[in-house]
Structures are given as structure tokens and as C-alpha cells.
Symmetry: C4
């Protein structure tokens, strides 16, 4: 028997309290006793993905025009769904740790998570109340961020974050190095090709667009040096770019490797001590 | 002496059973007693590669036109070769584990592997029977997938798959992060450059093409921002792209490293226990 | 109590010596007793970043024109700030190890760090004295290099440098391999497409621009092969490029991993020996 | 005292034998008793690099024209230098292991290394004897390959080769996967955009150029999909490309990590056994 089961599991509770306990377990990933996500959270994830997909598609006139009613229906349904979920969360939040019911409710409403939920619901319904603002419709894309809430507690994310945090200084230094190469590369190309291609290398900020696109190895081809000296310097920046990508990759690889090794060692020790 | 040698190795079996046993060993990589692939399987791999190469070349008019007879001969030869192989497999399948000969034969025909083989043979001969469909000719490219069957048992693939599977959640999270950056990058550029370049950033789905090609650092150069603000956001997406490539690479590197370390530890323990 | 505290910490020292001791601790990261940077060094880092940003922005006519007075004020302020810092360092340098006050002052002025500081201060004020030279204004960008001084002592940089140094030969060999592929790729494309695209592949040095931009996977698209044979060779170079990027990344990843593992082992041993 | 010193080190040998012994030690990196390269080998490396640089520059008309005499002098000097080195190697080869002097000399001349040296010398002098062939002049670039001979014995290269060899099957599988994605990506785009852009996607081989340039994330921008479906499939190929680059990088990183770990363990064991 699980001794840390929520108190609502008791059998002699009134019916609404039992429903609330059940719903709390379903909505709160941290108290869900089984592996993975609860059925209701899986549904919520699905609806969030679908809503994000719908929000993306709506911006495309070729898809949206002639299907206004369909998308309107989808948006209203999504709004009702998320409002229901919000109210459900507000109802069950009292099941969480703490004594004062009111303070728990207020705490939920003013938590970052709660405010984000509310903002998304408002953004969903706003277009029907006021004018049809493009910006507001795009706020709905924020729904995708809500997925992080579900995954937040996951061991994987914690491990990744810990690994990245453990190499904070190495990564910062690499970033500093990258910025330095970026600025010097842009300055060099500005000095060399500034007069020849003034719209592209006429100033250091302009040349930095080239610098970023080259160091990240994207290379759109809208800007590139045309003189021999410019090409020589650009080649140096290009090669430096490889190093600047290899460095953080190597650092992260070693950090992830360490994180897992430590976890394993901790487990081994634990086992040996028994 | 190998005690797990197939039963057909016995000397006092009838001639056809001995041939079948020999052929079974040749065709089934898992029962091949020696290292690597059997001679017949090496031949099959060679013919599959040759067939794939021929199927690719045939689509090129400059190569195909004037050489129709040559490619027809190649295709018919390949068809006969694969049909023979299919029948041979159907014949020797009874050597495998299990008692009922019929059920083993039926099992082979309706296995994924068997159906794929049959589909490829049909696709090889179909053009001679019916009209010359481009699609059907390309189905022949599926032959290349058959190579995976031969490699399936390899330790390497198992180790790779295990390593990737062991980091399932980390990789999924990285993917989720990538999709989020993809969507937000596309949305940002759509808002900034949507009016200036409507055909390229006129909607979030359109901007996502730019987003994908930038985050993967491909950068064709068919779409790129032209405003200062657009370039600033694009630079942020570009830098995020480096991180999003470094993350899975690092995760995989650590996973592969772990997989090998565990294998080694297992071996060491095994040796020490003796 | 810290026994290695600088001597100036004594209470019965005259007021100016106590100020100097306090300032020395603030300016010299190595003697700063607490974690991180001292408040004054944080301020200096901030001003360096701001100065670099201002120096970058000034080169852009759209930003600079009409704001000459603003940037003039910024530059003069920066010049005064860095001159003050220089004089302060010159004053407190006597707190450092060594007996002869004069030789410590002279040593500071003629150290690389001191000369760099002086050069940057001269470059900051020069435009107001003589003509407004573009080059001189860009020398101010060198300020960013000063940041390395602050980070120099950091464990992270030491670890990274040690890791890179430990794989010196492997990285050199990879670089040699890259140069060889670069030269042979350029030569191949020069031979194949030299006559067709003389301005792009007309000589090996010209083809090397293509070679660098392809091997680093940047691919601007200003130069690419147009013949079938050229494309086949370019594809080979492209695939080799992947390997040539994967190699150093892998080497660095393993080096970083080792560096941390050794540090951990050293710590573990230390702990066990107690 | 080194007991494995070459026999020529004896003091009572005739003068020419002592010279030959000294020269053998200088020319043969494996018998050089000290760390690094011998002075004469450093000179040879320098001359090879210079010769390669000269050979590259000569192909550029803007550099070559008007400087024919200079490059002629350089080439003749290089030819004499390498011929002298060849003769010196032929003379000292008798110092190597083995009894029969004639067979050692013949063995050197017909070794791959000896034939390569001879070919380069012939290629250096050929233009002066016969017509000025572009091809022959480029053969001189092969000199760069000679550098590998000097590095061959290095621990670094051995470690790298061992690491790569230890993951042979994993790398082969990744390559197989890459080829499969390459072929299927090209086939998909050929089917989707073959009619719209016949010169770019009109056949699978043509589409494979796009496929290679996309999977390697180069993205010249000479070929890219223009339909929505084409872009969707191209995005899938692009994302697959990231994975196909991350895989070998991760495999190599783990292999390099392993190689060093094994070396360390071997050393630790060695130390503990003492």
C-alpha cells in the first residue's frame, strides 16, 4: 500500500470530495501514482497540440479563407475546453498541500502557471469580443508552452538542465568566444568590403548579419565577400565557426555523459550498501 | 563442437534435406555459424545494391533513353533472381523452429518480411504486364530496405537502438524544444516581415519553411529576412539552432558512450566471476 | 580567519594604504576573497560591454548620423573611465607580490595587459586629437579582449584549455586531414569545372573558396558545380565535410569528458585518503 | 643507455657508415630517439608545405603570369631537393632491419612509399622535359600526402584509427541509413517536383544532388522545392539530416572517449602491478 497517497483516497469521504480527489490526481502530474501521464492529461496534451496546429494553420490565407466558420468553431471549442480545465484546476487545487483553502485558490490564480492559463483563455475568446487582431490570435500559440508544465517534473528534463547547469561557465566562455569571433569577423569584413558592398558590409552591425549566418554555418548566400582578402578572412571565420559549434557540442556531450554516470554511481552505491 | 547446430547437419539425411539444410544456413543470417554473411547472402546484398542503382539510373532520361533493352534485361534478370530467392526461402523455411510445415510456410508468406519480398517481386514484373507506371518502377527502390533484414541481427544496430532508446525522453524533450523554437521563430518572422514578403512570411506555415531551413543550418537562401528587426530575430533563431543541434548530438554521444561502457562492465564482471 | 589575506588588511595602516589595499582587492580578480567578481570588476565588465556595443553602433551611418554628440559624449566618458581605471591599477599595483615599488609600476606599464590598456585609452582619445580615422575607432573594439583577463583565472577556461591541449595531436591531425581534403577537393573541381566556370574554378586558389564554404557546410550558393562529374565530386567533398566536423567534435567531447573525470577522480582520491 | 639504439651508433665504424647511421636516424621517424621530428624531417615537412603552396598558387593566372621564372626556379629547386632526399633515403635504407643490402634497396624502390616519392619527382621534372600539362603539374599536389608518412607512427593517429575502427559497424550502419534517407528523399522530391522543375528533380539522380546538399546541411540554394508538399518532405529530410550528422558525431565521440579510457586503464593497471 502507498502511504503517501493523497488523503482524498479515503472511502468514507463525501462523493464530491472523492471526485475532486480523483480529478486532482488526474490533473496534477506530480501526484499521478502510475507511470507516464494520466488519461486526462494525455487528452489535454492532444488538445494543446491540435490547438497549436489550428492556430498556425489559421494564419495561412489559402487555408483560412472559406473555412472561417470551421476555425471559429474550433476556437470556441478550444476556449470552452481550456476554460473548463482552468475551472477544474481551480476547484481541485485545495487537494494540494497546505491548510487554507482560500489561500491555495488565490495562490493558483496568481501563480505564473495560472496567469498563463488565464491569458491564453482570454486570448482565445478576445477576437470574438473585440476586433480581430492578428497579434491576439498569435498569443494562442503560447498554449504550446503549457506542455512544458507537464514535462517539467520529468527526470529527463531535470537531468538535461542539471547537465547544462554543471557546464554553465564552460558554455558561457564558449559563447563569449563566439561573440568575440562574431564581432572581429564582422569588423574585418567591414574594413575589407565596406566600400565595395556598402549595403552589406557598410557598418559593423550590417556585417554582423553576415557574421552570424556564417558562424552558424547557415550561409543563406544573400551576403558573401567578393574580394580575395575578404574571402581569406571569411574562410578563417568559417573554420572558426566549426570550432565554435564543436566546443559546446563536446561540452554538452561530456556533461550529459557525466550526469548519467553520476546517477549510475549513486544507484550502484545504494545497491552495495544494502 | 557446436551443440546448437541445426538438426539438418546430420549425415544420414536424404540428399534434398541436406541441400535444404545447407541453403537454410546460407539464407538465414541468424543460423549462419561463421562470422559475417554467408556467400549467398553477400551475393544477394550485391544484387540488391545493383538493382537499387539500376532503379535510380532508369529514372534519368539521359541514361535511360536508347538503353531501354539493357535496363529491361537487367529488370527481368533481377525479377527472376528475387523470385528464385523468394521460392528458395519458402522451401527452406521448414528448417526453422516449429513443428507444422504448412504453418511455417504460411507464416513466412504473411510475415512483413515475406509480404515485402512479394511486393518487390510484383513491382519488378508489373511494368511488363501492365502499363509503364513511374510509381511502380520506384517501388523497386524498396529493395534497399531489405538490406536492413540482413543487418538486423548485428550487435552494432542493437547497441545503437538501445542507446537511442535509453535517451528517449531526453531526445523527445529536445525535439519538443526544437518544435517550440521552430513555431515561435516562424511566428516572430511572420509578424515582422509578413507584410514585406507576403509570399515568404505571409503566414506562420509559410514562415515555418524558413524556420526549418534556418534551424537545420541548411540555409538555401530562397527565404531570408530583409529588415533589421527580422535579422535580429533570425540571428537568435540561428544561434538557438546551434544549441538544438548540439543537444541531441551530445545526448547521443553520451548514450553511445554509456552503452559501450555497460557492455564492457558486463564483460569485466563476467571475467572476474570466473 | 584567512591567513593568506593581503598584508594591507591590517588595521593600523594609514588611511591611503587601506584604501589602496581595498582597491587592489577590488581590481585584481585573483586576490578577491569571495566567489565571483568584485563589484568594481562587475562595473568594469559592464562598461566594457557597453563600450563595445557603442563602438559597433557608431559604424552604422543610420544610427550615427544626427547622434554625433551623443556618441562623442559616450566616447569621452568611456575614455575618462578607462583612464581612471588605468591610473587606479597603476596606483594599487604596489600591493602585489615583490619588494621594489618602482619595478612593480614599470612592470605593470610594460606588461602585455598594461600596454593593451594604454593602447585602448589612446585609441579612445585619438579621434578627438587628430583626424577621425575609421581604423582607430575600430581599435576600440579591442576592449572586448580585456574581458578575457577577468576570466583568465576561471576554472572553466583552464579546464577547456587543458582538454583541448590534451588532444593537440588528434586535433592537428584532423586539421591536416581537413586541409588535404580541402586542397584535393579544390583541385578536382578545378580540373572538372575550370573551363566551364573560369571565374569560380579557374584556379586551385579560386576553387578553394568553394572548398572551404562546402566543407564547413556553409554553402552560400555563390559557387557550386554545374556538371554531373563536378556534382559527384562535390557530393564526396560534402560527405567528407560531415566527417571532418564530426571528428573534432568527437575529440573535444571525449577530451572534456576526460578532463572532468580526472578532476572527479582526483577529488575522490583526496576524500578517500583522509 | 638505450639498448635498442641502431647498430650504426658504434664509435669504431668507418666515417661514411657513421654519416649513414646519423642520416638514417634523421630521416626515419621511427628510429629518431628523441621526441618530435628530427631537424631534417622538420625541414622536409616545411619544404613539402611550401611546395604544395607553390603548386596551388601556380594554377592562378593572376599570380602565375609574369612570375613564370620565379615558379620555374621554385619547381627546379623543389625537384632537386626531393631527388636528393630520395637518393639519401636509398643510401641509408641499408641501416634498417634485414641482412641483404640489395634486397633492402630494391624493397625501398618498389615500396608504395618509394614509388610515390619517385612519381612526385618525375612529376616535378616532367614539365621541363615534355609539354606543360596541367594534369602533371597537379600531380605535385600529391606531395602533401607524403606528410602522412611522417605522422603515421604518431600515437594520435593510431588512437584515432583504432577508435574509428572499433565503431566500424556502427558507422557503416549510420552510413547505410544516410544512403537510404538520401535515396528516399531524392525519390520523394522527384515524384513531387519532377514535373515542375524537370532540370532539378527530373530524375532520381538529379534529385540526389539536392538530397546530398540538403542532408549535409550545406544548402547552396541552387535547388530547393517550391511546392507545399515538396517543402514538407524537404523539411523531413532536413530534420533527418540533423540526426544523421548527430549519430556519427556521437559514435566518434564515444569511441574516442573509450580509446582514451582504455589507454588510461591499461596504464593504471601497469602502475598498480608494480
Amino acid at each position: 500500500m502507498r502511504s503517501d497517497a493523497p488523503k482524498s483516497k479515503g472511502r468514507n469521504l463525501p462523493f464530491d470530495a472523492r471526485i475532486r480527489g480523483w480529478l486532482y490526481e488526474q490533473l496534477e502530474p506530480n501526484v499521478w501514482p502510475r507511470k507516464g501521464l494520466s488519461p486526462i492529461n494525455i487528452l489535454i496534451v492532444g488538445v494543446i497540440l491540435l490547438g497549436t496546429f489550428a492556430a498556425i494553420l489559421q494564419t495561412e490565407p489559402l487555408v483560412f479563407e472559406g473555412r472561417e466558420r470551421l476555425f471559429l468553431t474550433i476556437e470556441i471549442s478550444l476556449g470552452i475546453f481550456f476554460a473548463t480545465e482552468y475551472l477544474a484546476r481551480l476547484w481541485v487545487v485545495t487537494e494540494g498541500p497546505g491548510r487554507n483553502t482560500i489561500s491555495k485558490r488565490v495562490g493558483f490564480v496568481f501563480s505564473i502557471s495560472g496567469l498563463l492559463d488565464l491569458a491564453i483563455i482570454v486570448a482565445t475568446f478576445a477576437p470574438f469580443v473585440t476586433v480581430n487582431l492578428t497579434m491576439l490570435r498569435l498569443v494562442r500559440l503560447l498554449r504550446i508552452v503549457r506542455l512544458a508544465k507537464l514535462g517539467r517534473m520529468s527526470v529527463a528534463i531535470k537531468r538535461l538542465s542539471k547537465a547544462v547547469a554543471s557546464r554553465k561557465y564552460e558554455l558561457l566562455f564558449t559563447m563569449g568566444l563566439a561573440v568575440t569571433v562574431l564581432v572581429f569577423g564582422a569588423t574585418a569584413l567591414h574594413l575589407i568590403e565596406g566600400d565595395l558592398q556598402p549595403d552589406k558590409f557598410g557598418s559593423v552591425p550590417r556585417a554582423m548579419w553576415w557574421s552570424v549566418i556564417t558562424l552558424t554555418t547557415i550561409g543563406y548566400g544573400d551576403v558573401y565577400p567578393i574580394t580575395v582578402l575578404g574571402k581569406v578572412f571569411a574562410a578563417l571565420v568559417a573554420v572558426a565557426g566549426i570550432g565554435l559549434i564543436a566546443m559546446p557540442t563536446g561540452i554538452l556531450a561530456s556533461a550529459f555523459s557525466e550526469a548519467v554516470r553520476h546517477d549510475d554511481n549513486a544507484q550502484t552505491k545504494h545497491t552495495e550498501e544494502r
